[in-house]
């Protein structure tokens, strides 16, 4: 941990830097993907051409389809991937000549380019001889990611303030249940939305009370809360909701609401601006949480409590109330994600309908390194993989659907194991603060 000053004259900073960049994780991971690319795109290469459909018939601005021959594209992509890997290897071995900042930039750019190219190669290969509706693929991605993003934002807020939030799943499920019930009874989806937030807050209250007041291990409370909410919602579903489905479990859904001018932008318009109110709320939430966390007094205090509660306490921040209310806020945000299930995608509640989305959101939090924007992108990646499976399933893809569904989890494992750099959470996350 602490660097000891060695007798020889080497400055500490130099040794530290050179040890930092000698991490071979990224080049090894990229090399693995290059091998996968060689096997899939070259050895198992497929003939035919892949059409990327960039506009649907209803669009105002029509873009021409983009046709790529599968085999040549696959070979080109593989060569480019190999070149990028060489760049990263060179960066790892001879990177000392560049400044740390420049090195990081180049590395990040290479990895982004690599990901994009690999995806392009994969799509071209998987859909050879068929057409991929690009807007449909991305539209579905945004929709499927919405609950994950809300959940991940809830997770980010909660963990940044120092409470591990494994109960995202429970918050989503409680939100979904209450949104369905209240919206059905009142006939108003907006009331349902508020109910979902309250449900999320209630779950958070239990999490906060047990972890802050009773000092129970936060992971345990989270795990048990998930089971409790699952049990409660399933019980009430069987005894209350299913008795009178028409009156109690038929929620009015939010209609799709295209934003006038923005929705006519090609590709981006239909994907981002022909969504429902909940998705628009999601955009606002992402921006608000990001600005709030990093550019306001509230966020500074929140992060201080999560990183070093003693120090925060010393300067007069009340640690435990700060934690309590911010965990509650996190619950409200995650509850909104729950409302997505019953007020947007389907109009009725079903047992265990979140089906592990909360755990994926938790993975997105860690994958996104506790940063709301990165976590959003991680959630989008998971949504993309799920939707890709749907789209390829419709086309008839050569990859078994289970492997497509497995992908986000494998990626998370790789990410957590250090592919995207060492993931370090807020220092005091998971540790109760006892004022001495």
């Amino acid at each position: 941990m602490s660097a000891t000053i060695t007798p020889d004259a080497t400055p500490v900073s130099v040794t530290l830097e050179s040890t930092e960049i000698r991490s071979w994780k990224a080049p090894i991971a990229l090399a693995v993907f290059v091998v996968v690319a060689v096997v899939l795109f070259v050895v198992l290469g497929r003939d035919g051409a892949t059409t990327f459909r960039l506009s649907s018939d209803s669009d105002v601005v029509q873009l021409a389809d983009w046709v790529l021959p599968a085999r040549p594209t696959g070979i080109t992509v593989t060569v480019l991937l190999a070149l990028l890997t060489v760049v990263v290897v060179a960066l790892t071995t001879m990177g000392n000549r560049l400044s740390a900042r420049a090195r990081r930039m180049v590395l990040a750019a290479s990895i982004v380019a690599f990901t994009f190219l690999f995806l392009l190669g994969f799509l071209t290969w998987a859909a050879a001889g068929a057409a991929i509706p690009v807007t449909g693929l991305l539209l579905g991605t945004v929709s499927l990611s919405a609950p994950l993003i809300f959940g991940a934002l809830g997770g980010v807020i909660s963990e940044r303030v120092g409470v591990v939030n494994v109960a995202i799943e429970g918050q989503l499920l409680a939100g979904a249940f209450c949104a369905a019930l209240v919206a059905s009874v009142t006939g108003n989806p907006f009331v349902g939305l508020v109910a979902a937030m309250i449900a999320g807050v209630l779950v958070s209250f239990v999490l906060a009370a047990f972890s802050i007041k009773y000092l129970v291990d936060q992971v345990i409370v989270g795990v048990v809360l998930n089971v409790l909410v699952l049990g409660l919602t399933s019980f009430l579903y069987s005894t209350v909701l299913s008795v009178d489905t028409a009156a109690l479990n038929t929620a009015p859904r939010f209609p799709r609401f295209p934003i006038p001018v923005l929705s006519d932008i090609p590709v981006i318009g239909p994907v981002l601006f022909r969504q429902t109110l909940i998705v628009y709320l999601m955009y606002i939430a992402v921006v608000a949480v990001y600005i709030g966390l990093f550019h306001t007094k509230w966020g500074l205090r929140l992060r201080a409590v999560g990183e070093h509660p003693q120090a925060a306490d010393t300067v007069g921040i009340r640690v435990n109330p700060t934690r309590f209310w911010n965990v509650s806020l996190a619950g409200a945000v995650a509850g909104l994600g729950g409302a997505y299930f019953t007020l947007d995608s389907v109009s009725s509640f079903g047992k265990d309908m979140t089906a592990g989305a909360g755990f994926i959101a938790l993975a997105a939090v860690i994958f996104g390194r506790w940063n709301p924007v990165r976590a959003t992108f991680a959630a989008l990646l998971f949504g993309f993989a799920t939707n890709l499976q749907n789209v390829l399933g419709a086309i008839g893809s050569p990859v078994p659907s289970e492997f497509m569904l497995m992908l986000p989890y494998v990626v998370t494992v790789l990410a957590v194991a250090g592919l995207v750099g060492y993931a370090r959470g807020p220092a005091a996350s998971g540790k109760p603060y006892i004022k001495s």
Partner: protein, 419 residues
């Protein structure tokens, strides 16, 4: 963290932090029996409230509560007692049967349900003692079930040997799947909670894929994603004759409990497990290879959860398995381990209790129409209450033992002795 002066400060802070975090685990491990009993009572009470609130007779009677309150109370009593009597009859002793041998059958059902819960709980509890959360029970059970099931339906071996080979295959499968987590945690510092959750899904989809692919695990003449039934030689033989479901697996469960008790309390490896769980920094200073301990612990933990998967596939449902073979036991095991306070015999008792809930829950649903989910609620409430003894003490107006002791440390003797 560079330079000479801050170094001592950080080290003292870490050593001060570490026991704090472990004290919480210790609190879970060393609670007292009274709290456990009260927590179970409290949870049953809340379950009763839920049953009463959703009961139709109670709702009708409550409509005229102020004119005839006794009707409501009677309806509440009927609903709650009916449900809990059904729970008891379905899980322990059915006094409506004439002869003892059939009346006691629910108890053997309870033990059958308890068998996988206990071994899975042992696996999770062992990981707890090393300071790790193994939430990957589902994945480890699925992989183990697939391995044991594959040996069970496709190998043709003599009676006895076949069963042993299948059991070992399952244990190895579960151990390896958990070993990945241990290895990644030890080598890269990745958090085991995330790894195990993610590997649950990977295992689920992997097994689902194998189950729908002919030539791997799918039954030859089937369309459904389901394996062929186990061969007769690979199934756990019944323990009390064909009339009862209880199988030889339960003997293995008892042996496993003894083994884990021996491993944790009498072996050198177990000592190192506990040392790392109590304080990894101290263990490292004492010369233990903490990283390898994590790997070994996950291997053993995964092996035990694998055994639970084996119990399911060769004992509970030997007629071929689907991807739901784990039946949520991987998650129930967490609550079992917490309730048993991570001690082998505690887990054994907790497993039997949860097995009773499981057996009785279905009986309750069938006879009283109370959804089996109420059992899930009661179970999770039990664990919540047990994890927070001060809350239970406050509800039952019990003296707060821990705080008084802490306050009196300077004066010590009198009050501590008076307790």
């Amino acid at each position: 963290m560079s330079g000479g002066t801050p170094a001592p400060a950080t080290t003292t802070e870490q050593t001060a932090d570490q026991p704090r975090a472990n004290a919480i685990l210790k609190e879970i491990v060393n609670g007292n029996v009274l709290i456990t009993v009260l927590a179970v009572l409290l949870a049953l009470l809340i379950g009763g409230v839920l049953i009463a609130l959703t009961n139709e007779d109670v709702q009708t009677a409550a409509g005229y509560f102020f004119s005839r309150p006794q009707d409501t109370l009677l309806a509440v009593w009927n609903a709650v007692s009916g449900a809990y009597v059904a729970l008891f009859q379905g899980s322990i002793y059915n006094f409506r049967r004439d002869d003892f041998l059939t009346a006691i059958r629910p108890l053997t059902d309870t033990l059958t349900y308890a068998a996988p819960l206990i071994v899975a709980g042992l696996g999770v509890g062992l990981a707890f003692r090393v300071g790790m959360f193994n939430i990957g029970g589902r994945g480890q059970m699925l992989i183990a079930a697939a391995a044991a099931g594959w040996v069970g339906f496709s190998f043709h071996l003599p009676w006895g040997i076949h069963l042993i080979v299948a059991v070992i295959a399952g244990i190895v499968g579960g151990a390896l799947w958990a070993g990945i987590v241990g290895l990644l945690k030890a080598r890269t510092g990745a958090h085991e909670v995330i790894l195990t959750i993610m590997l649950n899904y990977v295992a689920f989809y992997l097994v689902a894929y194998m189950l729908r692919t002919p030539g791997l695990l799918q039954a030859p003449d089937q369309v459904n994603p389901k394996s062929p039934p186990m061969l007769e030689t690979a199934i756990f033989p019944p323990l009390l004759g064909p009339a009862y479901k209880l199988h030889v697996g339960f003997i293995i469960v008892i042996l496993a409990t003894v083994f884990v008790w021996w491993l944790l309390n009498r072996s050198s490896l177990g000592f190192r497990f506990r040392a790392v769980g109590e304080n990894p920094n101290a263990a490292r200073v004492a010369g233990m290879d903490v990283k390898n301990i994590y790997v070994y612990a996950m291997l053993v933990s995964g092996g035990l959860l694998g055994l639970a998967g084996v119990m399911q596939v060769l004992g509970t449902v030997p007629t071929g398995f689907s991807s739901g073979i784990d039946a949520g036991i991987g998650f129930d095991a967490i609550t079992v381990a917490l309730l048993g306070r991570s001690k082998p015999w505690g887990i054994f008792a907790a497993g039997v209790l949860f097995g009773a809930f499981k057996a009785g829950g279905y009986a309750m649903q069938a006879s009283q129409g109370v959804p089996v989910d109420v059992v899930t609620i009661v179970q999770s409430l039990i664990v919540l209450f047990i994890a927070a003894p001060p809350l239970v003490r406050a509800i039952f107006f019990l003296p707060d033992g821990s705080r008084r002791r802490r306050r009196t440390t300077p004066i010590v003797t009198k009050e501590v002795e008076a307790k």
